[in-house]
Symmetry: C2
Subunit: 676 residues, 2 copies
């Protein structure tokens, strides 16, 4: 039990723990992003686009939004800071975050990562300082996830020493491209490189798409993707190229070069491998989207929890006690496990950003195994955080009732703006397959297909022997797991080692059995790889989900271990229990099927979870306050008006006891007829 | 196994089965609601409101939207037809449906049900024919679900023979009121009736809120709820009354009268009971919302399934077969169980509408037990259908990737417009409590509180002995359940009797144990009823959910039994298997805990579900075609453009085999980097 006396939490200590290594970046945002940057509700699309573009130019330099670029171009080579900055921006306005993410993350990031010094010298400072707006033109209408099969072509012509960039048919047009419909002057365009009649796979070029007057360049057709569910401030558009001439030196040629005579060369021989190496440099986009989704989730939870702490739904039958929304078990069930998961994912994201910063932030060569693991982690946590955001923001909106449906209470825009995150920067289902594939092959395969997983025989040979790689705080985790006695029944379900072991066992068993099923399938229907993999697709996705759950729990455990303040540590430990047991509860069917839980223990877990809800009820507000979101950023009318209303109502009822229903025997109503 | 040869379905027969008893109402809508009525994407709020109000006046008379009113006022006393009409309208445009629902359902319905002949003669025809627009002003800012405790007062003054309608403080203002911000001329206002210094509970008055020029009446303040997540065409507003004089005869006095001298009389003595009787007449609103949610779900599924049947995601590794989105197991898992549940809920809704029509459609007195059961059913199915809509439309939007985020593909508006359904016309969680309460008390209690459930001792005595009341096709269900042998393991999991029995057992056991826990709690902490009920709130909600699942399955089984066409029957039977086993799979944790499933059988179910997905894959399109949604109504650009694009791409690839990736060994990509 949390000791309520000693457990009084110093919010500053909690915030410190959560703010983590880039605390000063977070503080700079909290300080410098004033009300000018808050979302405006009820704008037209044009108004929103105009405002967001303007604000992009007004972002205070103190934020370090371009911190990831080298110092000579206006950054400070701090990759982690740029990711954290994007996350903070997302808490204020998601259109602003996406617009900034396109400009400095995707567009600027691609020029930096795929281009060479001449591109950097010519363009990077203008990009960093917002004088050149740009797009990241990869996705095509007909090819969302299958980016290796893009149909746009870029054919080298030695005669003119130019490339011919061309959209062969409508399904090959670039689609959903941020910054394209209104502001983009240039684009990094991905297309199939063809030289001397040979195809060399997908490469990227830096291509002007508008002239200085904002008119499309010759041969470039620009369309508008039109109104969207959310992100009204982002001008998503469509680009088509009609034999556009691109100078040879506009090929972003860090990984492959085309000589004047058309000779193609690359240090990476295999087309697929080269392509995925190029993509790998762009992993920051996914890390940013995951972080942004969690930032929005935190804002939604802060609104719902604070509202639930002031809002009375029914009066207590006896009328002698104020019952608040947050006092209801059902309400706690909606918000608290989601809040615990948000904490868990926060620590996992922090760990991921640190790993990214370490692996990609240095000057030396990147360790390939670590890079692939990083990509896998980024993919898995992006999927987990964005799905969690969609679910949780929905729950928060419902928890606020009709008020949650009004734009003035912010939840509608949080919901609508983040919705696209589950399918952009990689469709979540496809990303989880990527995670599973890494686990199945130990990141050792030949960059083959994800979808058909390459030839089945190949995969069946490659699937690795099961070795679980532990993440952060290896030694600590190993010690905790090692201390669990053989017979589970003797251990409390709040034993951290037991929880870790359940998570590990689930991943191991799922992975092991997936390997067996894939091998079995491969031996019987070698000619139909699609069917072999499709038959186990749900199983394979379950492997990935279990893996992400485990690394998330391990990150949480490591985060708690690194916390100095004892009261904060104790609180986080209960939150971690709630996270771990919520996941176990959600998967109890599988655990019972596989003898990992007895029926009695499984039933007991429900009771323990409910007990944790009761124990954490007094800390709900503390837990959202720990996110340290400035009050102004929450920008929800119910939080400004509701306390005054409740006071006024209470004062009125005190003056007129009849009004409070003291004369009505049952006391409260059992029907909810809130009118539309 | 479905016999694919004999199983070729005649869509007309399937449609006939689904269209049910009010088929001609459905057909009239399909015929008369042309493109004028389709949603417009990207409008401003003002444009949307203007358009929807105009369209409301242009609704073809053939639709029978006001069919529920008596013939002398322009209807034809066909309650069922009016519900089905609302549902059909929802498939075209949800703003239009809600606006119509407010006018003819809530407002007109309240005047008809709560008023007497003088109100009917004076206003009903004008309401039916749209000359008087009105509002249903119940909900207050401070009282969403607890409508019995509204704070607005209406005090009778015998001197002037008028009521004094007053909003005592801001939390008592009427909020979220449809039709208030722009169009409403009158409102049915709910307030506490006080006469001779005595309070008599909540009653309703018909109150003019605007004059003929559209200006607020003296003492009436009208506000605008402002931009919302969706339903842009509905003018939700706020009403406050500053000592507004309401003539005595504007009290809607079917259930209670106030004489000139202020004497209050009612045939129903108990204030609570009278209030709930009044509310009970308004149950149609909930039935309509549930139906509307399902109508929108069907449209979303039709879009996602049809898109998944034309869209290729990756090419098959061998390139010799077109793999469509719908071929992926994970995609089937997203869409097919949701589609099966939509079918199940369709039959449950049809049964509910028929019951409503039978119970409330006649002239005679309403059987109270049946009425309460109807209210419970309406509450439960409203919650089930609206949550299912929110989840399923979200899944459909994700299943369409980035395209699902563009307004032109309709999913964003389906999602945003239906979102409010989970909390309006009764918050779903509160509604499920209502269902549970009915089950716990056998609909016999004294209309006490829902929230504190009245005094605990009272409830503890009242909780009924467990008797499961069967619904439709009692005899058939009993026969199927009766035929299940004692040892489960011997029965196939596709045995309908076994499935029904699992559903029944789950409800019975949950109800039984909830009763025991409530009694146990009551005997130990009599003084804290809130705590007693709060401790088991999750359990009690599980009872309600299990109940709704059972009545839904039984309705599906009855619907199949009534189907004449053998091929349709066979197909529906497989869909019913998928529904039943999906629910069992989702609840396998509980079933394993309680020994209702063995681990082996539980694992087997996952395999059977996957087998059903494979079996039903060829019928996905058939199943959405059965909804008979006119092509134009789907109103999604991807369905119009995609087939042409895919053809063009295929033709291009055929001419240039290299483009199809034939030279890339793995064949397909494992990374999805769709750009924002």
């Amino acid at each position: 039990m949390l000791d309520h006396a000693s457990g009084r939490i110093d919010i500053a200590r909690l915030q410190e723990t959560l703010d983590g290594p880039w605390a000063e970046v977070r503080q700079a945002h909290r300080k410098h992003l004033d009300e000018r940057f808050l979302p405006v509700y009820g704008e037209t699309g044009d108004q929103a686009r105009e405002r967001i573009t303007r604000l992009l130019g007004e972002l205070p330099v103190e934020l370090g939004i371009a911190a990831g670029f080298p110092a000579e171009y206006g950054g400070r080579s701090d990759v982690g800071a740029s990711i954290v900055a994007t996350e903070m921006l997302a808490q204020v306005d998601l259109s602003l975050m996406v617009k900034a993410g396109v400009q400095w993350g995707l567009f600027g990031g691609a020029v930096a990562a795929l281009g060479t010094k001449r591109h950097h010298d010519a363009y990077l400072r203008d990009i960093v300082e917002g004088r050149i707006f740009g797009c990241f033109a990869m996705t095509e209408t007909g090819h969302g996830s299958d980016v290796q099969q893009l149909r746009t072509t870029c054919v080298y012509d030695p005669q003119t020493q130019t490339f011919d960039l061309h959209t062969p048919h409508e399904a090959a047009r670039k689609d959903y491209i941020g910054n394209a419909a209104r502001d983009g002057r240039m684009a990094v365009v991905f297309a199939q490189l063809i030289s001397g009649g040979r195809r060399h796979g997908v490469h990227a070029w830096l291509v002007p798409i508008r002239d200085e007057h904002g008119n499309p360049m010759p041969g470039v057709t620009i369309g508008d993707a039109g109104p969207k569910a959310g992100l009204l401030g982002v001008d998503n558009g469509r680009l088509s190229f009609d034999h556009v001439r691109v100078p040879r030196d506009m090929l972003l040629d860090r990984y492959a070069q085309v000589a004047e005579d058309g000779t193609y060369s690359s240090a990476i021989e295999n087309d697929s491998r080269r392509f995925f190496t190029m993509l790998g440099t762009l992993v920051r986009g996914r890390v940013s989207v995951g972080g942004a989704a969690s930032a929005a989730t935190k804002a939604a939870l802060a609104i719902a929890v604070r509202y639930g702490d002031i809002r009375r739904q029914f009066s207590d039958a006896e009328g002698d006690r104020e019952v608040l929304l947050n006092d209801y078990l059902a309400h706690q069930r909606k918000l608290l496990p989601a809040l615990a998961t948000t904490y868990a994912l926060h620590f996992a994201q922090t760990e991921l950003v640190a790993a990214l910063d370490e692996i990609q932030g240095g000057d030396g060569p990147v360790d390939e195994h670590r890079q692939r693991e990083l990509e896998s982690r980024a993919a898995g946590l992006k999927a987990a955080q964005t799905w969690h955001a969609t679910r949780t923001i929905q729950a928060c909106r419902e928890a606020c009732g009709g008020a949650g449906y009004l734009s003035e209470n912010r939840l509608p825009s949080l919901k609508a703006d983040t919705d696209v995150f589950t399918t952009f920067e990689g469709d979540n289902t496809v990303l989880l397959q990527l995670v599973a594939k890494g686990l199945l092959t130990g990141y050792r395969d030949e960059f083959g297909s994800l979808d058909g997983w390459g030839r089945a025989s190949f995969v069946a040979e490659q699937v690795r022997e099961m070795v679980l790689e532990r993440t952060a705080a290896r030694a600590l985790i190993a010690r905790l797991v090692g201390a669990v006695p053989g017979r589970d029944d003797e251990v409390a379900v709040t034993d951290r080692g037991w929880q870790l072991k359940v998570f590990e066992d689930r991943e191991e068993h799922l992975l092991d059995s997936a390997v067996r099923r894939l091998r079995g399938g491969a031996s019987t229907k070698k000619d139909r790889p699609f069917d072999i993999f499709n038959d186990v697709q749900d199983h394979v996705l379950a492997v990935a989900a279990a893996h992400v759950d485990r690394v998330t729990l391990e990150a949480f455990v490591a985060g708690i271990d690194a916390t100095a303040d004892p009261a904060v540590k104790e609180l986080l430990s209960r939150v971690c229990d709630l996270y771990a047991l919520s996941v176990i509860e959600a998967n109890k069917g599988w655990l019972l099927e596989h003898g990992r839980l007895t029926p009695a223990r499984s039933k007991a877990i429900t009771g323990v979870v409910n007990g944790l809800l009761k124990e954490l009820r007094p800390y709900m507000r503390t837990l959202v306050d720990g996110f340290a979101i400035p009050d102004a950023w929450l920008h929800a009318a119910i939080l400004r008006e509701e306390p005054a209303r409740q006071d006024e109502m209470a004062a009125h009822d005190a003056a007129d006891p009849q009004a409070a229903g003291a004369d009505s025997p049952g006391g409260v109503a059992d029907s909810a007829a809130a009118a539309p």
